[in-house]
């Protein structure tokens, strides 16, 4: 998912900016190190596996900052002076926010990698918060941006409601913030309480308000999806309308008798 998301960013960014990617070698470095380090991560500290695996996994989580920094710098340099004229629909905000979420998630993972920190975050709501940030904040935003960028170009007509694109963007960002921040804060508080030996039922009850807040965020996300759906539906309806009009024009056009020159 990380590779596909990054690939999308590096595909769209040069097209948006109308210039080649800032550095192909930096992109290669990002992809290669992401594969090398990323495939080792994900083993939590304290799991019933040999300790060296946890240590290796934590180290790799921190090393992941290398590809993330490389990708972020490369993207930033490519789109650094993008003018509004190049990007009238302003789909760039999707990619910029997606990259920001990518960096934030990698930072959070690196910070919570050592066992001294991860005992507050492992097995709590902090894990789902990070998954949301990566899967939605980064990957889904990239895919939305790609859909908004590619679909009109493939079909050859503009979206019927370009303002809804902006609205979807704000709903998506608000939704991610409302999902990720409460879950992350709730997770850390949960971990702290469990470390302080608070009775489990009290810990559980303390989480409820954070879960309610994150449900509000999910509602924002759902509304955003409806906007994307209506825009895409409108696009297709327009497309078929124009096809139909063309066909009708052809059918109803006065027939030129063969051989008769006007």
């Amino acid at each position: 998912m990380g590779l596909v998301g990054l690939g999308t960013a590096f595909y769209v960014a040069p097209k948006l900016a109308n210039r080649p990617l800032h550095s192909h070698y930096l992109a290669l470095l990002a992809f290669c190190t992401l594969m090398l380090f990323g495939s080792w991560t994900g083993i939590p500290n304290g799991a019933p596996v040999p300790v060296w695996m946890q240590a290796a996994s934590a180290t790799m989580s921190m090393l992941l900052l290398v590809p993330v920094a490389a990708a972020a710098v490369n993207y930033r340099q490519t789109v650094r002076d993008l003018s509004a004229a190049d990007d009238p629909a302003r789909v760039r905000i999707f990619f910029c926010s997606g990259m920001a979420a990518f960096v934030a998630a990698a930072l959070a993972r690196a910070i919570t990698a050592p066992a001294e920190v991860s005992r507050f975050t492992d097995l709590t709501w902090f894990g789902p918060a990070l998954s949301w940030l990566q899967a939605y904040g980064f990957f889904a935003l990239m895919m939305f941006g790609a859909a908004y960028y590619i679909a009109p170009r493939v079909i050859g007509i503009e979206f019927p409601w370009p303002k809804l694109v902006r609205l979807h963007f704000f709903l998506a960002v608000a939704g991610i913030v409302f999902v990720v921040v409460p879950l992350a804060v709730g997770g850390i508080l949960e971990g702290r309480k469990l470390q302080a030996n608070v009775p489990f039922l009290d810990v559980f009850k303390g989480n409820l308000m954070f879960l309610r807040l994150s449900t509000v965020g999910e509602l924002f996300l759902a509304i955003g999806h409806l906007l994307l759906l209506s825009n895409l539906t409108g696009l297709f309806v327009r497309f078929y309308q124009s096809c139909f009009a063309e066909a009708m024009a052809e059918v109803t056009a006065p027939i030129q008798p063969a051989g008769v020159k006007a």
């Binding site: 192909h24 290669l28 992809f31 290669c32 594969m35 090398l36 495939s39 080792w40 083993i43 939590p44 304290g46 799991a47 019933p48 596996v49 040999p50 695996m53 290796a56 005992r119 492992d122 097995l123 709590t124 709501w125 894990g127 789902p128 469990l194 470390q195 302080a196 030996n197 489990f200 039922l201 559980f204 009850k205 989480n207 409820l208």
Partner: protein, 308 residues
């Protein structure tokens, strides 16, 4: 720019590297694990495979997605040592002096209590070195001090286990239900903490009956409501609240019985060489000569094995 060969090579190395590191090496390290009788002191075999019904219950546990809310892994942050006096011996004055030397904070009455009551620890939460020195100092006048190993950590304090979970615990489970979150409590030792099968059945039917304020959803569909026949079914749940209307009874389905049997079978209460612990020796009942049930030095032997 043609990066094809480089990308192929790096992808190959990345996949091969993580396969060697995360599949092959753990397989070489843990794949040979088998049931052992290296359980310190007791000679018992560990782990034992789950009984048939409990094995079926694992599948029910899996199908209901219990692992999304319940973890089955106890973590510990370390071990400390406690020192007890199993037998005060004959020279009480010398032992009393030794106690006040080992634990200068204890008042005289406390020291006397430590001398006579073998369940009162003389030292708690000390390192192995300190404990060893104390044991040596207390071995005067025929007194028999004992050193016990106590795992510490928030999970242990919550009462979720006596020691950390290790790979050996899950030898016979497939798939392993480690879980990734604790929306509900850890279940690694659920059978140890709640040995009552009927408690589990009632709790599955109506969690709030047993735990006020529980957030667990009731699993009513694992039970059937039936009319009481000639006599009430022996399997029917004894419900104080949430009960069926008069003339009806709630009986568990085979799935509920299997799940409850599985929950009852969850126990990792055996000290292992990789995860030692020991408990204070229980005083033998006065009227029998039965040996104490919990062998105190068991964990010490385990620690020695681990140190080798």
């Amino acid at each position: 720019v043609n990066f094809g060969p480089i990308i192929f090579l790096v992808t190959f190395f990345a996949m091969a590297g993580s396969w060697f590191g995360l599949v092959l090496t753990p397989q070489m390290q843990l794949g040979h694990l088998q049931q052992t009788n290296s359980v310190a002191g007791s000679g018992a075999l560990y782990p034992v495979s789950r009984p048939g019904l409990a094995r079926q219950g694992l599948d029910v546990y899996r199908s209901l997605g219990c692992a999304y809310c319940h973890s089955q892994q106890v973590r510990q942050s370390g071990t400390v040592c406690d020192v007890y006096l199993n037998d005060p011996g004959t020279n009480r004055a010398a032992v009393l002096a030794a106690i006040s030397q080992v634990n200068p904070n204890a008042s005289e009455s406390q020291a006397r209590e430590m001398l006579t009551n073998s369940t009162v620890p003389i030292l708690t939460g000390v390192t192995r070195q300190v404990a060893d020195t104390a044991v040596k100092a207390l071995s005067v006048g025929g007194a028999k001090p004992a050193l016990t190993i106590v795992p510490i950590g928030p999970d242990i304090t919550q009462g979720w286990g006596k020691r950390q979970s290790v790979a050996e615990d899950t030898l016979y489970d497939y798939p392993v239900m480690l879980g990734s979150q604790r929306i509900g409590p850890d279940l690694a030792n659920e059978g140890l903490r709640r040995p009552d099968l009927n408690w589990h059945l009632r709790h599955l039917y109506a969690p709030r009956l047993e735990t006020k304020g529980s957030g667990m959803p009731p699993y009513r569909f694992l039970f059937t409501k039936q009319k009481i026949g000639r006599a009430p079914s022996p399997e029917a749940l004894a419900l104080k609240e949430f009960g069926p209307p008069a003339g009806y009874e709630i009986v568990p389905t085979p799935a509920a019985a299997a799940l409850a049997a599985y929950l009852q079978s969850l126990r990792t209460d055996v000290p292992l060489a990789v995860a030692p612990f020991s408990m204070p020796e229980a005083p033998a009942p006065a009227d029998t000569n039965a040996p104490p049930t919990n062998a105190g030095p068991a964990g010490v032997a385990a620690l020695k094995t681990a140190a080798k």
